[in-house]
Assembly symmetry: C2
């Protein structure tokens, strides 16, 4: 099995998973050495020994390489787009529903446990994860908000949902662990609405 020479036209079954895996392994080393902000797709390609076009073939961008390397279940830019929705009203409920849509999908809890283990077991990932969260999740969300301290309020909203994920899906504390999403939405949505609206 060899890597395809031209990524988008392939005459035979490609060594897709091998090449993709090699790119992800090289990417983790690049992120660890240069941080999230200092890593480029070109640098990842060089470290993996593949043509940069191959990286673009398998991944939508640096954020996509990162989320796939650490097992994050969704591209954050898709979250920001859904939150923006039809306008500012109801952003709290949209955040709760979007969040549960991601983590309550099949395998979501297992992914949450695996992600936490990866981060806790690899302390060198912490600053990279921090920069990724700041740049790819919080900055675009804060940019939609009005009021004072939008970055702080966006971070508090994230902290509430991360806490729910840890308590519900990772540690599994009842009655939160098996509460119905429809019972959680009216409890959580006003919290997020208040943080995000700044009122």
């Amino acid at each position: 099995m060899t890597a395809p020479a031209t990524p988008r036209r392939r005459g035979r079954r490609p060594a897709g998973e091998d090449t993709r895996g090699a790119i992800l392994a090289a990417a983790l080393q690049e992120f660890a050495a240069k941080g999230y902000n200092g890593t480029t797709l070109r640098g990842i390609a060089r470290a993996a020994g593949v043509d940069a076009r191959l990286v673009h073939h398998y991944f939508e961008g640096k954020d996509d390489v990162f989320v796939q390397a650490v097992g994050f279940p969704v591209l954050p830019r898709q979250i920001a787009a859904r939150l923006a929705g039809p306008g500012p009203d109801g952003i709290g409920e949209r955040l709760v529903r979007t969040f549960f849509g991601v983590w309550e999908s099949p395998g979501g809890r297992e992914r949450a446990v695996a992600l936490l283990s990866t981060v806790a077991g690899n302390p060198e990932l912490t600053p990279i994860l921090r920069d990724f969260i700041s740049r790819e999740i919080l900055a675009p969300v804060a940019a939609m908000l009005g009021g004072d301290d939008p970055e702080l309020r966006a971070t508090l909203a994230a902290s509430q949902m991360i806490g729910v994920l840890i308590v519900r899906a990772v540690v599994g504390v009842e009655p939160l662990a098996s509460a119905d999403v429809e019972d959680l939405v009216p409890l959580l949505a006003p919290t997020l609405e208040r943080y995000l609206s700044g009122e």
Copy 2:
């Protein structure tokens, strides 16, 4: 260095840390084998090969053995006592201030990181931690609350503060990581007040 024969009267410098450490090591095995609820101080003493009085000498109870074994920074029954405070008014702000009082003390962030690493690196601790949190933290707090679903609301309040701890102290996401506690209290207290008051 030998363990003291009578715990509270000691003629010479005791092997305190050794004995205490042996009890903690035995306790972790007991908790792992029998769960939090199934473990007794007598069983811990037996597993450690010491007299049960010695366990009572070093620790205030099973909850104290557990918090010291996993590096939890405070005895939860002290938290519940402080939350009850002068009455139901202001319970949200008291929870925020009590929580920050514990985790913002010297070494608090390091303890948070160490605790998360211990839990993530030892999946067999997860059900034990879950039972500990339910029994020693959430049950006594829920017992003070009125309204519907007090256990669920207590768990949501815990999830908000655990999320803050992870984002602020473990991952260190700005601007939450270096925000002043006095700026966080007015943002977080209404969230907790609403969960805990059920209004």
